[in-house]
């Protein structure tokens, strides 16, 4: 009630009205500045957060890729990197034709997974969306594994996240392995 009377008096006198208008304009200004600064800071923070998250994911994938290559294969005394390195160029090139290193073929309609695929899926099961591609340096891909075999052919790689080069027992070529965002 007191405030209403005060505003009415202010509005009646010209000087009071001017002062009130100044106060209102000032408040609007302050509010605008506050909103602009708040939006700017928030958007910057979101961008920083996104950039850091992406960088963190890439670093994590690098660690996983290295661990994956060093992991011993089930039933063999050698690591995955050594297993891939032990394959001849001919074996790898044959693998290119029908993904033979990753998938050994169809058995009663179901794609039979190769050794590398089983190991890969086991190691990467905690990651939501992944795709691993293997190729001869400068050559074609000989193996591509993704989480969902059915989407194997449909899956589009949307950027490389981690890459490693391993030597082959045949000194004529190297093997490259990389993770892509599924």
């Amino acid at each position: 009630m007191k405030h209403k009377t005060l505003f009415r008096r202010l509005a009646k006198s010209k000087k009071g009205f001017d002062d009130l208008a100044d106060i209102v304009i000032g408040l609007i200004f302050i509010a605008l500045i506050f909103i602009v600064v708040f939006v700017y800071i928030t958007s910057t923070e979101i961008r920083i957060e996104k950039a850091i998250k992406e960088e963190q994911n890439n670093l994590e994938k690098d660690y996983i890729l290295l661990n994956y290559l060093r992991t011993p294969m089930e039933g063999k005394d050698i690591s995955i990197a050594e297993y891939l390195g032990s394959l001849s160029r001919k074996e790898l090139e044959e693998g290119m034709a029908f993904n033979g290193i990753c998938y050994e073929g169809k058995a009663s309609g179901v794609i039979k997974e190769g050794l590398v695929t089983k190991e890969t899926k086991e190691i990467l099961q905690g990651i939501s969306n992944w795709q691993v591609k293997m190729l001869i340096s400068g050559g074609k891909e000989f193996c591509s594994i993704s989480k969902d075999i059915k989407k194997q052919k449909e899956g589009h790689a949307s950027g490389e996240t981690a890459r490693a080069v391993i030597p082959s027992n045949d000194p004529g070529f190297n093997i490259e392995i990389y993770f892509t965002k599924g």
């Binding site: 001017d18 961008r47 950039a51 850091i52 690098d62 290295l66 290559l69 080069v165 391993i166 030597p167």
Partner: protein, 197 residues
């Protein structure tokens, strides 16, 4: 506000202050480094990335050393233990008249030298082929060649690096000893001794 004398008195210093602040902001804005959101944590992630690049190179060296060792052993076996540098063309084959058979049995040092020479050749060939794709134009990764003193311990081959593997970047110089310790599956010297028993 302009009609109010008190307000006019305050308006002048406020305007002056804003002018000074604007000039100060303008001058400083152009002299400082450009800020980008990704700069936050850039140094830390760069260090981790560099470390991982070195780890990948170390994995490559380990595997290359293993393959090189196998190739060297195969090579020596294919030559049936021949050590031409001591005047023997074939030790395990037909007995030669001259030089005497005893001269043709290589000493441990000769086995070691022959192994080291071949091993270095094969390993160098592998290391020359290594490329790190994650480096920018002005960055480099250097794996030194002819860099190892070899040591045989039971079934293991230990390569002690003389020089460090180096990764040079704009703000980071990373260096690590690329020594290796690999299981070659048998004792080289015992294997050779068994040839001549």
């Amino acid at each position: 506000m302009v009609k109010n004398k008190k307000a006019t008195m305050i308006l002048f210093p406020v305007a002056l202050f804003i002018m000074v602040a604007l000039i100060f902001f303008y001058v400083n804005y152009h002299t400082r480094d450009k800020f980008q959101p990704v700069d936050v944590g850039y140094a830390q992630t760069s260090i981790l990335k560099t470390y991982q690049q070195a780890e990948k190179a170390l994995l490559y060296i380990d595997l290359s050393a293993k393959y090189s060792a196998y190739r060297t052993i195969d090579n020596l076996k294919n030559k049936k233990g021949s050590f031409e540098n001591i005047g023997c063309n074939e030790v395990l084959g037909e007995t030669q008249e001259s030089p005497s058979q005893e001269d043709c049995i290589p000493t441990k040092k000769q086995v070691y030298d022959a192994f080291s020479a071949d091993f270095s050749l094969y390993l160098n060939a592998y290391l020359k082929k290594y490329r790190e794709t994650g480096l920018k134009q002005d960055e480099e990764l250097i794996i030194p060649l002819d860099n190892y003193d070899l040591l045989f311990k039971d079934d293991k081959l230990i390569g002690i690096a003389a020089e460090n593997l180096k990764i040079s970047k704009k703000s980071i110089n990373y260096s690590i000893k690329p020594s290796f310790n690999i299981d070659i599956g048998f004792d080289l010297f015992n294997e050779y001794v068994s040839y001549f028993d």
